[in-house]
């Protein structure tokens, strides 16, 4: 062995170094086809890389499409808030001019815009969805929007009734279509037959200037009738919203210059509106009649605060804060919970990780050092719980730990515990830690074992032969070599337990639940997916941060899975 050398300069035969040296002397080395070897090699390597990439491309695509994209989509919900501006587009714009901190209710234009927005949303059945969304921020908005959907018809009915009394045509679909629609569209609509696609509505020329609000409302109605109802517009009586808009147009402008179809009826309606007997509806009063909460300034503040397309509101909620007109503020003390849960989750995950280390180390050591026949049997015992359903294992702990359970029964029987004072070991932190330590133990044992199995026993023997005691040999020789296994196991167990859900749910009671239980609640019960996404994002960030800290302190290269 003594004459073996790694120094290339002393080696016989061709070496890369010699080749390079030769190339410098004789110019670029050429491949068999005459191109420089360097280029030919690069091309070959590139081809290889592309081939490798193509081989993993299906997997990469699969992971991107089915794993990363949905997760990103879900996390993105933590800031998304388009629902307010999409459902109440006009209100949101008008509210911009209103100062939420002024202490005064918004003016009539806001109520007028809200009337139109909520009316349309109710037709599309979107108003209750918005109510649910805003109810997360202000209690009571849910029923406010539900009630308002139907109630707002009262405004338009005042006008509809009067126009109808004047001339029944004002309730006829065809009459309205002839008045508002262009001639070519009208011809298409009249010639339409069942089964054909419905013609798209076209406004009569000049109508948008003559009756601007009515045109806008009627176009909304036309779109709804064609797309949602799939009915022919000429058979449909328009919404009461259109009648309200007609009143507004007639009271604001002069229609005497109009000479198209139904000019006489329109002029008669204008005369009616101008007459002193004409009854008008007070939009604000109708809102108040539906629910006096509409005159509560907090409702409008909430709509204004949550009108942007993206909001920090969910993240603020996730750290026990809330948006107010004056800026972010802490929630009331009796509503703060997430900070406590985050801290508890981290603390308990660490306790579980350390108890796993303590229990797994001796087992892994035994597995690695026993003769293989015994070790295999032990290994099966380690893996056996792995193959049992998680729910079964958790429920088994319930049977063991509950007050009338196996452990308490035994303790009472041997007289250690009084029958009247049985130990409370479940539905609290202790129960969660015990059950989760047991469930996650294999994730600690297996990486430890695979690292320990590679530590040659001769090292410890050598240490001992040089005079080390058993303890010193373990501490200075064996233990340092087993650290990568502890690191790998700890990361696995910690990250698994930080997101654990089922076991804390079943045995956690009130003091042993994790943040993941609240995330699950918001996903499946309260349906506040934005808040769930914000909580999940924070949890992910915390895990990444800890991972980074681990890398800085211990070094991720020090982790070995085998």
């Amino acid at each position: 062995m003594s004459d073996a050398s790694n120094d290339p300069a002393q080696m016989e035969g061709p070496t890369p170094e010699k080749g390079l040296a030769a190339a410098e002397k004789t110019g670029p080395m050429l491949a068999a086809d005459g191109t420089p070897l360097k280029r030919s090699l690069a091309r070959a390597l590139r081809r290889q890389k592309i081939r490798a990439l193509m081989l993993i491309a299906p997997l990469l695509l699969f992971v991107l499409v089915t794993f990363i994209a949905p997760i990103l989509d879900m996390l993105f919900r933590s800031v998304e808030n388009q629902i307010v501006s999409e459902t109440l587009p006009r209100t949101v714009v008008v509210l911009e001019d209103w100062d939420g901190t002024s202490g005064e209710l918004p003016g009539d234009p806001v109520f007028r815009a809200a009337y139109e927005d909520i009316f349309l949303a109710a037709e599309y059945k979107l108003h209750t969805r918005l109510g649910t969304r805003l109810n997360y921020e202000l209690t009571g908005v849910s029923s406010l929007f539900r009630k308002s959907g139907r109630g707002l018809d009262d405004i338009g009915e005042v006008y509809q009734d009067q126009f109808e009394d004047l001339n029944e045509n004002w309730d006829e679909g065809l009459f309205w279509a002839e008045l508002m629609g262009s001639d070519s569209w009208l011809a298409d609509a009249q010639g339409w037959q069942e089964g054909q696609p419905l013609p798209e509505f076209e406004l009569r020329e000049g109508m948008a200037d003559l009756l601007p609000r009515t045109s806008a409302a009627y176009q909304d109605f036309a779109r709804f009738t064609r797309v949602e109802d799939e009915e022919n517009l000429i058979d449909e009586e328009p919404w009461t919203l259109v009648h309200t808009a007609l009143y507004e147009d007639l009271s604001a402008g002069d229609v005497s210059g109009y000479s198209g179809p139904h000019a006489a009826e329109l002029q008669a309606a204008a005369d009616l509106v101008a007459s002193p007997d004409f009854e008008t509806a007070d939009i604000r009063a109708v809102f108040e009649e539906i629910d006096e909460d509409w005159l509560d300034i907090e409702v409008w503040q909430t709509i204004k605060t949550y009108s942007p397309n993206y909001t920090s509101g969910y993240f603020l909620n996730a750290v026990d804060m809330q948006k107010t007109p004056e800026g972010p503020a802490l929630r009331d003390e009796d509503e703060r919970i997430y900070g406590l849960l985050f801290k508890r989750t981290l603390f308990m995950s660490m306790v579980i990780t350390f108890s796993c280390i303590a229990l797994a180390y001796p087992i892994a050591y035994l597995l690695a050092t026993l003769p293989s026949r015994t070790a295999n049997l032990l290994m099966i015992l380690v893996l056996l719980p792995f193959w049992t359903s998680l729910l079964v294992r958790t429920s088994a702990w319930k049977v063991m730990l509950q007050q009338q359970g196996v452990i308490n029964d035994v303790l009472v029987w041997i007289g250690l515990v009084d029958d009247a004072n049985r130990l409370v070991m479940i539905n609290n932190q202790f129960g969660t830690i015990v059950a989760m330590t047991h469930i996650l133990l294999p994730f600690m044992i297996l990486p430890m074992y695979s690292v320990m199995a590679t530590i040659p026993p001769s090292y410890v023997r050598a240490a001992k032969s040089m005079g080390a005691t058993n303890f010193t040999a373990f501490r200075r020789v064996y233990f340092p070599q087993s650290i990568p296994g502890i690191g790998a196991g700890s990361i696995l167990v910690f990250i698994l337990s930080i997101g654990y859900y089922i076991t804390p749910e079943i045995v956690g009671g009130t003091t042993g639940t994790f943040i993941s239980n609240r995330i699950a609640y918001h996903i499946s019960s309260s349906l506040n997916w934005g808040l769930a996404a914000a909580l999940g994002t924070i949890l992910l960030a915390v895990v990444l941060l800890l991972y980074w800290a681990y890398d800085k302190i211990v070094g991720i290269d020090n982790v070995k899975l085998g």
Binding site: K125, L126, T128, R129, G131, T132, N135, Y136, T139, G140, V141, S142, S143, R146, D334, E335, R336, I337, L340, L341, Q402, Q403, Q404, G405, N427, E505, I506, G509, T510, T511, T513, R518, I523, S524, S525, S526, L527, N528
Partner: protein, 367 residues
């Protein structure tokens, strides 16, 4: 040669027959996915109307999905993905209202789509007030009520018959099992804190009222085991872990009657709730036709009465009540002897206050 011919002929006949059957059903899909709660309740549905329906239509296959507890969340996700895989979903009333609110459930014309009662009444009259939402087809009335261990009642004391015995640790020592959510618990706490039944929700609307309810619950907090699943309480009672606990009355019925456990019912201030079908919005025409056909059958007077043979929940149709088997009547939450003092769950109140009060309740729990 002859054999082949015969075979061919039979095959052709079978195909023709199959086509004829398909023809007679119009274009109805031949499979349905029903969503329910699993357990005894789902098997009562299976026995009372799914099996008879499949017997009548042997070419229809029915599969179950036990996802009712997460139905609203899953339907919302399906709707966003544009792929509704469920045909008929069993949900409680508050979920039906939410699904209808979100546009995830189809609106129903009860008189037109459902069978009239066999006493000739219109479906909407037959179901009456139980149609709490335009999308809802109620099946049964159940209640959340208390069960207690008969062998753990202290000597010389009457068995508990008053809701306030839940809060009376002196007379009835021992643990209680309560559901881990504010709904029902807050109402019971206020009732036992001296609030009149009619005023409970008015009081609970206020901050002070909520604090008052939590303060009342605080008096028994360290004696409470909080449950998440309806099966927990019967289990805790059977193990002797708790003295009394709230759960759905059908669960207690099976613990008492089928498993012979020493458990008694305490019906006082039981809270009525409903369970029923909704049809997801946006089903393709053929599947919708099949579901409508099934629902019409499955919610007629006889079928709902049949269901009461298998589980102690009251049928939602008034016309089914006389057909309920005699020996089941005493276990029904709607039986006059059991319904002396009942409490009506206020759906609208909880739709508004659920998020707010739940936050407070959970913070209180975690303290």
């Amino acid at each position: 040669m002859k054999l082949t011919k015969t075979l061919l002929a039979t095959t052709a006949l079978t195909v023709a027959a199959g086509a004829a059957v398909a023809e007679s059903h119009g274009n109805m899909a031949n499979s349905m996915t029903l969503v329910s709660w699993g357990g005894a309740y789902q098997s009562s549905q299976d026995n009372a109307y799914v099996k008879p329906y499949v017997e009548m239509h042997p070419d229809v296959s029915v599969s179950w999905d036990e996802s009712s507890a997460e139905a609203v969340a899953k339907l919302r996700a399906m709707n966003e993905a544009g792929n509704i895989t469920w045909d008929l979903v069993d949900v409680v009333a508050s979920d039906a209202i939410r699904l209808c609110d979100e546009g995830l459930a189809m609106e129903i014309d009860h008189d037109e789509m459902l069978a009239p009662g066999d006493d000739g009444s219109d479906a909407s009259d037959d179901f009456g007030d139980l149609i709490v939402s335009d999308c809802y087809i109620p099946q049964i009335v159940y209640s959340t009520t208390f069960g207690y261990r008969t062998d753990m009642v202290p000597e010389g004391v009457d068995a508990p018959s008053d809701i306030c015995s839940v809060f009376d640790l002196e007379t009835y020592p021992g643990k209680r099992a309560l559901e881990k959510r504010p709904i029902n618990n807050m109402e019971w706490a206020l009732l036992c804190d001296g609030v009149e039944k009619a005023d409970v929700y008015d009081v609970l609307e206020t901050e002070e009222g909520q604090d008052r309810a939590l303060a009342k619950l605080d008096t028994i907090k360290d004696q409470v085991v909080w449950w998440n699943a309806g099966a927990d309480t019967p289990q805790l009672l059977a193990d002797g872990e708790v003295f009394m606990g709230s759960t759905y009355n059908g669960r207690l019925y099976s613990a008492i009657v089928e498993q012979d456990q020493p458990i008694g019912m305490m019906w006082d201030a039981q809270v009525f709730d409903l369970d029923g079908w909704i049809i997801p919005a946006g089903l393709p025409e053929d599947r919708l036709a099949r579901v409508m056909d099934f629902v019409r059958f499955a919610t007629d007077t006889q079928r709902l009465a049949d269901q009461a043979k298998y589980i102690s929940y009251g049928p939602a149709r008034a016309s089914s009540a006389p057909k309920v088997p005699e020996d089941m009547k005493m276990h029904m939450p709607t039986d006059p002897a059991n319904a002396e003092n009942t409490f009506l769950y206020n759906y609208e109140f909880w739709a508004d206050y659920r998020d707010d009060i739940d936050a407070k309740f959970q913070a209180w729990l975690a303290q």
